[in-house]
Symmetry: C2
């Protein structure tokens, strides 16, 4: 979705025609997009993606490591899910809201000038495929592992609330560029938005009160 | 931006060719989009929009009432800013977070099946014009009047934080359709997201703490 350089791409050794390895990698990415589109994130298999690309499944391991990483490369989301989970889950659960916000900002602040976030959101708003992929992937790979570790109850709800605040912050900071949020420091946003994420993950969500 | 029916449109009296009045209205909308694109929301004037459309400025008043309403119609945002402000500002400032969330959901829950929100976000992520318009319009017409009434300090920051949570909630509920947020009742979202908006508007925003 993004046109930014892909950090998972091997260094280019020469200009001009792609090497055979790069052809294999590009073929796998295309096959992965088709497979994920047809079967969703859960239903897609590495074996079938390799079959569609006409290569050995070991090539997926060689070029991408895991199905998660292949998905991320296919979607051109420039994050490593395992690193994100590790950073967020390390440390005191009472500070996890701050760490979630800081990690999100660190990933996206370095992902170019907002073009990557705009491309991601454009894709999500334009294609049911991308919306479904984001929903499944973010839920399974980021939100669920975190809420299973720290949230006392209502985990799916808490995860979706966290996602709503983070994606909204990203949209305002990188795409709409609403000030002073666009140029706020990470520390400022950790201070203002961190408590929101903390409450969504571990706090009192409140009960419904139709009187208000 | 949206393909949903425009509530400000006059009822169609017949099929086929548009009436002269509908031509005037359509011409004003097109002129308004050009004028807003060139000069921004603040710089655009009703007089110049009428000139561009080749009609009397009184036609703007006749068809749209105010510059705000003309802008909303040109952007195909299906809200009445004055109604939104009145609903939000009526009542106890200590419940304003709940009212903001409820009003937002009432407007968007009735704006079709999420198509309007997707169209809005697609436009915002695809066009600097739409991003700038949304930024200026939402800030001036919705956020600033509210924060000026209820927020003790850091008003621009508080307004942008509120916008970030609302737009993120809208994206998750109507476009990405992440459950259980997508099918949560308004009461549930008022209970979970209302306190976030309340804190952003009137609460303690916290100070930066680079240690976390």
């Amino acid at each position: 979705m993004s046109t930014a350089p892909d950090p998972a791409a091997p260094p280019r050794r020469r200009r001009g025609r792609r090497s055979g390895g790069e052809d294999t990698r590009a073929g796998l990415l295309e096959a992965a997009r088709s497979e994920f589109a047809e079967r969703g994130y859960e239903g897609a298999t590495v074996r079938r993606i390799a079959e569609r690309a006409g290569v050995d499944p070991a090539m997926v391991n060689h070029w991408f490591g895991t199905k998660d990483n292949l998905f991320v490369a296919a979607m051109e989301i420039e994050v490593n899910p395992a690193t994100v989970r590790a950073e967020v889950l390390a440390g005191d659960p009472q500070d996890i809201g701050a760490r979630v916000v800081r990690t999100f900002l660190t990933v996206w602040d370095t992902a170019g000038d907002g073009g990557a976030m705009a491309a991601l959101l454009r894709s999500v708003t334009g294609h049911e495929f991308a919306a479904r992929m984001l929903r499944e992937f973010v839920t399974r790979v980021i939100l669920r592992p975190v809420t299973e570790r720290v949230s006392p109850d209502r985990r799916a709800e808490r995860g979706a609330l966290v996602a709503s605040q983070l994606i909204g912050m990203g949209l305002m900071r990188y795409v709409v560029r609403m000030e002073p949020l666009a140029s706020a420091s990470r520390d400022e946003l950790v201070a203002t938005v961190g408590p929101t994420v903390q409450r969504y993950l571990t706090g009192n969500l409140g009960s419904t009160n139709p009187e208000v």
